[in-house]
């Protein structure tokens, strides 16, 4: 089927629309509309020329249509819409990486599990279940484990609100163990993963079975004391 040339009509319409960035969209929309009408009329049995005239007549006067479209496509609204749309696209792009990071490294620890810090058999465990909020980070002290090789282990998790007003640091904690003679000065190790949600383990070697308490420090000033003589669940009893 021979498709008529609508260019003259469409140019006349577009000449009335001030917002140039919309010309392309208006052009194709009107053109498709005209072609649909034209094809409809041809299918109804009209000749090419008659169908063309009918389609154009159906659309109306080019100047009138153009002025109506110009009211809808106001340049000021068009510019605001266009600028905001581009800003939105820009922000979506620059948020992609942080969002991916948030979903992966930020919460990677959710799928992790604790691993025993010693190959030695367990002697006792203490379910601590203590929650401590320090600034924007909440610490969950989960459990204390004591092994036959005198390793004492503290298991904990941290949660930091991703939208909190603080620059993110990997917040670990410090563990000091005491017996009846005072602080047991011994080195240890530990790890902590994740940034928003993280799990961590701290271990201290050569801790005697009669150690009395653990002092856990968060940040610079907050600390809690956990009594090691209470709440022990002995492994050989369970």
């Amino acid at each position: 089927m021979l498709v008529p040339d609508w260019e003259a009509y469409l140019k006349a319409v577009l000449s009335e629309v001030q917002f140039k960035y919309d010309h392309n969209a208006i052009y194709f929309e009107l053109k498709n509309h005209l072609e649909d009408r034209y094809e409809g009329y041809v299918e109804e049995g009209m000749g090419d020329e008659e169908a063309t005239c009918a389609a154009l007549a159906c659309m109306g006067d080019a100047q009138t249509v153009g002025r109506a479209l110009n009211k809808v496509h106001l340049p000021i609204i068009g510019w605001i819409w266009r600028i905001l749309r581009n800003i939105l696209i820009l922000f979506i792009i620059i948020n992609i990486l942080p969002t991916l990071s948030l979903l992966t490294s930020g919460f990677v620890s959710v799928f992790e599990s604790y691993e025993n810090q010693s190959d030695s058999p367990l002697v006792y465990t203490i379910d601590v279940g203590h929650k401590e909020k320090v600034y924007d980070t909440t610490y969950f002290i989960d459990k204390i484990l004591y092994y036959e090789d005198h390793t004492l282990e503290v298991r904990y998790a941290t949660w930091t609100n991703p939208f909190s007003n603080s620059i993110r640091w990997n917040s670990s904690l410090s563990v000091v163990v005491y017996d009846e003679n005072g602080e047991i000065r011994i080195s240890g190790g530990g790890w902590k993963s994740g940034s928003f949600y993280g799990r961590g383990q701290e271990n201290r070697k050569q801790i005697p079975l009669n150690a009395t308490k653990v002092v856990i420090s968060f940040g610079l000033k907050e600390k809690i004391t956990i009594d090691l003589t209470e709440g022990r669940v002995m492994e050989n009893e369970s």
Binding site: L88, F91, L102, Y135, F163, N165, I167
Partner: protein, 232 residues
């Protein structure tokens, strides 16, 4: 959907996404914003007062705050021309000021510190630097917050062993109210209390490296102080 409705949706989404970008990127509108956010992240503060801000040679600003009797120093740098973020390359953060006069070197030859006693109006500092220490002296006025600062010299890579060997708090009349470290006469003070020179000297000899050098010959070279403080 017409454009006006879309504009309303855009105007709702853009601030949310911008906020998300600021939070996840660690961007703030001022160096002070970076400073307080970093303090929260490091789990101390907020500082009661920002006592000073200094331009850094490689761009950016060092913000110094006072939190109770301690100091906080955090560097910030510009981002995208109008935002600020934490400067890369290390953060001093919390500076414990447990002594009556505490001086701390924050890089670029700058010393910052706090004097805890009101009658102290100036602080004298002797800085030693280099492998075989050279000496640089500096006297700094103390402001109403007890804060003092000064540039002792230009920091060079080969002078990375710089440290404050001796610090002195003085009254308005120049009377020495407090001493810490080894003074020009070889007397060693620890947080205001004079220690027996011999004991300090013996530690030098016990170290073994400089057994044949009389302790008196080490005075004012910086090595004696370093040995006495256990830094070498």
């Amino acid at each position: 959907m017409n454009r006006k409705k879309q504009i309303i949706i855009f105007l709702t989404l853009i601030p949310l996404l911008f906020f998300s970008f600021l939070r996840h990127g660690g961007y703030y509108f001022s160096p002070e914003g970076v400073f307080y956010a970093c303090e929260r992240g490091l789990q101390y503060g907020p500082s009661d007062k920002i006592v000073a801000e200094y331009d850094l040679s490689e761009g950016g600003t060092l913000v110094v705050g006072k939190w109770g009797g301690d100091l906080s120093a955090i560097p910030a740098e510009r981002a995208f021309g109008f935002l600020w973020r934490l400067k890369s390359g290390g953060v001093t953060g919390f500076i414990s000021c447990e002594k009556v006069v505490t001086g701390y070197m924050v890089g670029e030859g700058r010393i910052i510190g706090l004097a805890a006693e009101e009658q102290m109006k100036e602080v004298y500092c002797r800085v030693e630097y280099g492998e075989i220490p050279s000496i640089q002296e500096i006297t700094m006025p103390v402001d109403e917050d007890g804060y003092f600062t000064g540039i002792w010299g230009t920091q060079k890579e080969e002078e990375k062993y710089e440290y404050i060997a001796y610090i002195e708090g003085r009254s308005a009349g120049g009377e020495v109210l407090y001493r810490d470290g080894m003074d020009a006469y070889g007397r060693y003070f620890e947080d205001g209390v004079e220690r027996n020179l011999d004991s300090a000297g013996e530690r030098v000899y016990q170290n073994g490296k400089l057994k044949n050098i009389p302790f008196a010959n080490l005075k004012n070279t910086g090595l004696a102080t370093a040995f006495a403080k256990g830094k070498i």
